[in-house]
């Protein structure tokens, strides 16, 4: 059993290495593929956004089938909108790739964040429309403020993650040799089961705390989805608020599907890294230290992205045409 398992592991390892080698040789082509994908997503988004505008016109004209096509288009718009580079995906995937969590956690995070983006848009447009009328410029400015608040939370999240992982790293260094090894990596030492072929749960960071979950969720979801805002402004302007909200729900679900797909990829990539580290590593605490370093890097990247995003949002706040 043990032998068979390790053979399978060897096979997986060999496949991974071969795959990685092939990937390295193909990277240039992969890069082209990547730019093509982004270009395609942008072009799709353009078409869908224009189609959405047409569907809104049809709603205004009272066409019976318009609501169905509006919702369908909204869903597709969500799916493609989320393919292009954007802050939500970046924060979620970086977080998931550098921190230990269960798959369901990543999926829940992606969906809740996408839904929250839609809800923020509805609350924003609804409250501005209710208080000062359909003032698009005010809505736009308020949306940018929310964006900046959301990016501020990204910065906080980065700092929080840096603090956590740096502390773990520090504790690990200072307690080295005094029992930390006992949690070491049990290579083939367990009773033939398959769960312990990696650093033990104690070695890696624990499951994310509620605080981390909420911070990640808010840092992504506080920023309202701009496509949704446009739909809602038009919907409110033409007296079809409910149709607008239904479309926003469809956009959110579409976005959630794409982002959770990426979350699954990030989670799988991390599992693979843990598995590979276990194949090569000899000491669990060292591997765990390595993963703490990865968590630290993840925190730094999230922090830097937050700073960049705030700067970029300020640039857009001063956009000459809005």
């Amino acid at each position: 059993m043990l032998l068979a398992l390790s053979r399978i592991q060897m096979f997986v390892l060999a496949c991974t290495l071969l795959g990685a080698a092939a990937l390295l040789l193909q990277l240039d082509e992969l890069g082209t593929l990547w730019s093509r994908t982004i270009e395609f997503a942008i072009a799709m988004q353009r078409h869908l956004q224009l189609d959405l505008a047409e569907a809104m016109h049809a709603i205004r004209a009272g066409t019976a089938t318009a609501l169905g096509s509006l919702i369908g288009l909204g869903f597709l718009y969500g799916v493609f909108h989320a393919v292009g580079p954007g802050h939500g995906k970046f924060v979620i995937t970086t977080y998931l790739a550098t921190h230990e969590s269960r798959l369901v956690y990543g999926i829940a995070l992606s969906f809740l964040a996408s839904l929250l983006q839609g809800i923020t848009a509805i609350i924003l447009v609804g409250s501005v429309a209710w208080t000062i009328g359909r003032a698009t410029r005010e809505i736009h400015q308020a949306a940018i403020l929310l964006e900046i608040a959301s990016y501020g939370l990204v910065v906080l999240l980065g700092l929080y993650l840096i603090w956590g992982s740096a502390r773990r790293l520090y504790l690990r260094t200072t307690s080295h040799g005094s029992g930390a090894k006992e949690h070491g990596y049990h290579r083939h030492a367990d009773s033939g089961c398959c769960h312990a072929h990696g650093p033990s749960a104690d070695d890696l960071a624990a499951e994310p705390s509620v605080r981390e979950f909420v911070m990640t969720l808010l840092s992504v979801g506080l920023r309202p989805c701009s496509g949704s805002i446009l739909v809602l402004i038009v919907a409110a302007g033409t007296g079809h608020a409910l149709a607008g909200m239904a479309t926003v729900a469809a956009i959110s679900i579409g976005t959630g599907i794409t982002v959770s797909g990426l979350a699954v990829l990030a989670n799988r990539a991390r599992r693979m890294a843990v598995f590979l580290a276990a194949q090569f590593g000899s000491e669990g605490s060292k591997i765990a230290g390595l993963f703490d370093a990865a968590a630290l890097l993840g925190g730094i990247l999230i922090l830097l992205s937050g700073v960049t995003l705030i700067k970029a949002a300020q640039a857009i706040a001063q956009h000459p045409l809005f």
């Binding site: 942008i42 353009r46 956004q49 580079p85 700067k311 045409l321």
Partner: protein, 218 residues
Amino acid sequence: MFGIDDWHRRITGHCGLVLLFLSAPPADAHPHSWIDVRVEVMLDSNGAISGLELYWLFDEWYTVYIAEEFTESALAPTEYLNSLARQNLANLAEYDYFTKVMINGDPVGIKDVTTFDTGLSDERLWLTFDVLLDRPVDPQAQTVSYKVYDPTYYIEILHIEENPVTFSGAGAHDCAAEVVDANPGFEAVALASALDITQTGGDHLGELFAQTVKVSCR
């Protein structure tokens, strides 16, 4: 076998890819609005390029955006549109009206816009204005090209497919233009995103995705 240069390029590529995944994408690194553009290249009596007449057709979303503003304002439609155009052009001056004209690859200075017109067509806002060059440029002696783009890439500006570029003035018949789509190499995009972390906040992203129009006259 690969030469040193190949390996060098390959390694740079890999670093680019790593940077790409590690670096933060600029905020909303995708357009949220679109402008269709049509251009008339203006030639003076000597056949030199004196400027570009740009025709911008905004998308329905931007039109709705400004229309909502209009319903709140007390101005008459044409008056409102004119004041909006004046405001927008004043804001755009700082950005050279999203227009970059190049001679042999070097940018040429642009004068402030004084002539413009605006209106609605098929529920879409349009704006036309003349971008005059600091000095006339001889298209026969020099390689002239231009780009029209929003540097933040918040708006994507693309040429109308049918008859995107025309010419007017002396020797207009001898001139031709070629619209070249952007080919944002992923290394360039990766580098741009990597630079953004420490430098600008994605101010040059738009240029990577901009169409280039090559102008040539016989």
